[in-house]
Symmetry: C2
Subunit: 358 residues, 2 copies
Amino acid sequence: MPDLNSSNSTGAGRWGSCPLPEGGGELITLAHGSGGRLTQRLIDDIFVPAFGKASLASLEDAATIDFPGSELAFTTDSFVIHPLFFSGGDIGQLAISGTVNDLAMVGSEPLFLSVALVIEEGLPIAVLKQVVASMAETARAAGVQVVTGDTKVVERGKGDGVFITTSGIGRRISPRPVGSQQICKGDALIVSGDVGRHGMAVMVAREGLKLEGELQSDVASLNGLVTELFNAGIAVHCMRDLTRGGLATAAVELAEACQLSINLNQPAIPVSRPVQAACELLGLDPHFVANEGRFLCLLPADQVDRALAILHSHPLGANAAVIGSVDDTHPGWAMLESAYGTRQKLSRLAGDQLPRIC
Amino acid sequence: MPDLNSSNSTGAGRWGSCPLPEGGGELITLAHGSGGRLTQRLIDDIFVPAFGKASLASLEDAATIDFPGSELAFTTDSFVIHPLFFSGGDIGQLAISGTVNDLAMVGSEPLFLSVALVIEEGLPIAVLKQVVASMAETARAAGVQVVTGDTKVVERGKGDGVFITTSGIGRRISPRPVGSQQICKGDALIVSGDVGRHGMAVMVAREGLKLEGELQSDVASLNGLVTELFNAGIAVHCMRDLTRGGLATAAVELAEACQLSINLNQPAIPVSRPVQAACELLGLDPHFVANEGRFLCLLPADQVDRALAILHSHPLGANAAVIGSVDDTHPGWAMLESAYGTRQKLSRLAGDQLPRIC
C-alpha cells in the first residue's frame, strides 16, 4: 500500500496510486520558481513541449487573443486534490476538465485556458511532467488552448505536491441565457449519468481500500456533449456540474437561487454498485459525493425525450436519467422523495465528507 | 519582533508585520472548503460584501460578460508571498496589481479579474477578511471588476496561510501591438521609477531587520499611467513590469526575444538609499531584486522627452529615467555599462536571491 501519510517521502507513493519512475529523479527546487535560469528550463523542457510555443509564449506578460464573439464566460478553480493520481484520472485532467465544464455549464464553448502551478519543493520532476502531459492531452481532447501560465515554488511543508489553478474563457453558444434564473415550474431534471464516482475513487485511492468491482472517477470534459444539446435546439434552462457537495448540494443551491421547489426522486438517481458499496462501507451518502463528469440539466418536460436520446447516444451520457422535477410546493427547498413516498428536505452539509477531492 | 518562523503559531505574527486583531478569533477549518454551509458563509460574509453580489454570483459556474472589443488579453499569476503583510502592501494588493500590470504591459485595459484562494486550515478569519478587503480596494482603485472566484482549504502544514491566484481579461487599447517583437534598434529604455523596493521590503519584513530610512514596497497598479502614455499617442514598442528577477532579468529576456542588444547604463538606474543600504547589508544586487510597481518602457528615442513628461507628472512615474538603449552590437545580449565605462554581460540568476517575494 502506498505510503500516503509520510510528508517526508519524495517517492511516487506520496503522490498517488499511479506507477511513477522510481528513485534518483530530479526534484523541484526553490530555484525553479525564481524566474531565473531553472524557471526558464521548466518552461523550455516541460511547458512549451506540452502546450506549444506559439500559445504559451512566456515572453510576454499576457496572451493576446482574437476573441470571436461579444459575450464571454469567465471562470476559475483551484485544484488541491490529494492524492495527485487516482483511479480514472489525475490532478492535471481534473484541472482542465473542471474549468472546461464550468464554462460549458453556462452555455458557452470553452476556448482559452490559463494554468498556474504552485509546486512544493521536492516534487519529482517526473511527476510534474506526467501532470503537465495529462493537462495537455485533456486540453487537446476538449478542443481548448492553454494560452498563458505561471509557476511558483514553495518550501517543503508549505504546499502539497502541486496545486493547480486553471481559469478559462468561453464564447456563448446558447441561443438563450442558461442559469438558475431561467429555471421554470414544470421543468424536468435530467442527470447525465450515475453519481458519486469521483469522490469515492479518490477516497479509495487515499485510504488504499480494496473493493470488488471497478471504481473509477467519472472525470471528463462535458463540452462536447453540451454542444450536442444546443446543436439539436434543446431549450436548456439551466445546467450544473455536480462537483463539491454532489447532486444534493447542487439541488439545494439551485432551489435557493430560483425560489422554486427542486424535487429529486431517489429511486431514479443512478448510483453504480461499487459506489453504493463504498459509500455504505464508509458511511457516506452518494448524493453528497462529488462528481467531475456529471451534470444536472433542467429543461421543459416536453423536451425530455429528445434530450435523453441525445445523451444516451454519447458515451458520457449513456446512463442519463430523469430524476426529478420543479414545482412551487416548497419555494427555495430541495426535496428528496424515497421509494416509499416519504419526502425529506435536503440541506447543505455542515462539514466536509471528503476533503480535497478536487 | 514578530515570530516569523514558528509554523505552529496562529497569531498575527506568523502572517507578517501588520497589526491584526489578537487572540480568540475564528479560524479557517477544512469545512470552509467543503462547498457546504461554511463555504456559503465565507461567500456571504466575506466575498460578497467585498466584491459585490452582482459581480461575484457564486451561484453559477462561470461569470458571463459582455466583452467590448475583438482582441483580448488574458493572464494568470499565483501569489505565494511570505509574509502576507509587509511594509507598503500585502498579498491581496499584490495579487490584484500584479495581474492588472500584466494586462497593462501588453497594451490592454484591464477589465475583469478572477480570484482563487487556497487557504491553509487555521488561518484566522480576521486575516482572510483583511486580505480580501485589500483586494477589493485595490481592484476598485484600478477600475477592474472581480467577477468570479473559488476557495479551497488544505490541511495545516499543506499550505502557508493563503495562496492567491488571480487571472485577468483586458481589452486592447494600444493602436499597435506592444511586445518584445516590436523592439527596434535605436529604441530608448525608460524605467518608471527606482528599482528593488518590493523585494527588499519583503526581505526586511521577513528577517525583522531595522534599517534607517523608509523602505516600502513599490506595489501599485500601473494601468492608469500606461493609459496616459497611449492617450498621448506615445508609440510604445514594448513594456515589461520588473517582477521576479528584477530589471536585469527583464533585460536578458527582452534581448533574447528581440535578438538585439539591450544596453543598460548603470549610473542612470535609480536606486533609493534604503534599498541600496539593505542590498549591501544582505549582499544582493538591486538590479535583480523584484519590483511590483515599476516597468521598463522601450520606445523610439525621439519620443523620450514627451514620455518622460507624462511619467513625471504621475505619482507612479515621478522618478522615471532613461536608463539605456537598444542596438545590434551584441544580438541577444543584455549589457550593463558601469560608471567607469566597463561593460558586463547580464545573465539570469542560477538560483533564487529572494524566494517567495510574490
